[in-house]
Symmetry: C2
Subunit: 188 residues, 2 copies
């Protein structure tokens, strides 16, 4: 087994080959269930996903959410827009580690500093001309490696053009919602 | 103190008034630091944010990231695109609880089922015409409440037009990146 950055390069090549041969193998549906607990607190449960239409059940993860006191919460957990930054950092971390391995670049250290600016007048419905989400997101990658500047530039380009969460943030994604009313058990 | 859905409605009104009077109070910068640990694993640390340009330090939260075995990870944690769904669910949970409180709607139960479809040929750089991120995201809200259908429709509309994470997913956000090369301690 040849690993670079802890990534099994042979296995990575086989995965690319398998998905190239049979694109369905690369089709995933990820899922999460968020339960409101009280006030601005909630917990999201993640425990399965689909690959090529087949459901795969895994161990269960729980991610809590809350707002800081400044936004009427109790700061028992990060808030939604902080979780979004965690998603971006996680995505870039996977991207750098995997693409560097494929390119034969060894990483010594890798860290991302992420920031997003938001104007709460959007969320609070105070001003129609203020967007609800982040006005801008910035991310600085700190990389310790022996790779040349050219190799690093190529790595950055590969990561940034193929990062799922960068794509979702920087571009529009079709988002469909629905609301289902559930009646109380005592009635009906 | 009057609370609806655990939200202090008076405090919410005061916050809206304060931010309407002085918009700077509603300006936040959220931050996260993601450290690559090994292979496709990382940990994101969240411990401070800015409000009106003032840094506020809070307790520290850590969010782990990994890929499932099917994407060459060890499934020690959710992956980045699952964290993104958790961010969306957390955001909608806060939105429903807070806007319902402001409207005087009591929620009994509230749950969100989220799903995102992705084609890994984008991430792996196999096909240029396949986007890296989610092709589509769906979210169904299950709401148990005594509110009328009209009130619930109004609540849904308020939440969906003011949800920060819905906005980030459904629309484009300016995203700027930078890469800084750090030299090893032993050299220099």
């Amino acid at each position: 087994m040849t690993t670079t950055n802890g990534v099994d390069v042979e296995q990575l090549g086989q995965a690319i080959e398998a998905i190239t041969d049979e694109p369905a193998v690369g089709r995933f549906a990820f899922r999460a269930t968020t339960d409101w607990t009280d006030a601005l607190q909630c917990v999201t449960t993640i425990d399965d996903f689909d690959q090529a239409g087949e459901q795969i059940t895994t161990r269960t993860f729980e991610i809590e959410g809350d707002e800081p006191e400044q936004i009427l919460g109790e700061r028992t957990a990060p808030n939604a827009v902080e979780l979004l930054l965690a998603a971006l950092g996680s995505c870039l971390s996977v991207g750098y580690a995997a693409h560097a391995a494929a390119m034969g670049i060894e990483l010594e250290e890798l860290r991302f500093e992420l920031e997003g600016d938001i104007d709460l007048r959007g969320f609070l419905g105070i001003a129609d001309d203020v967007r609800a989400g982040y006005n801008a997101v910035t991310c600085t990658a700190y990389v310790e490696t022996d790779a040349s500047a050219d190799e690093l530039a190529e790595l950055r380009d590969r990561v940034e053009t193929t990062s799922p969460v960068m794509d979702v943030i920087a571009n529009a994604v079709p988002l469909e919602t629905d609301v289902v009313t559930e009646s109380r058990g005592v009635r009906a």
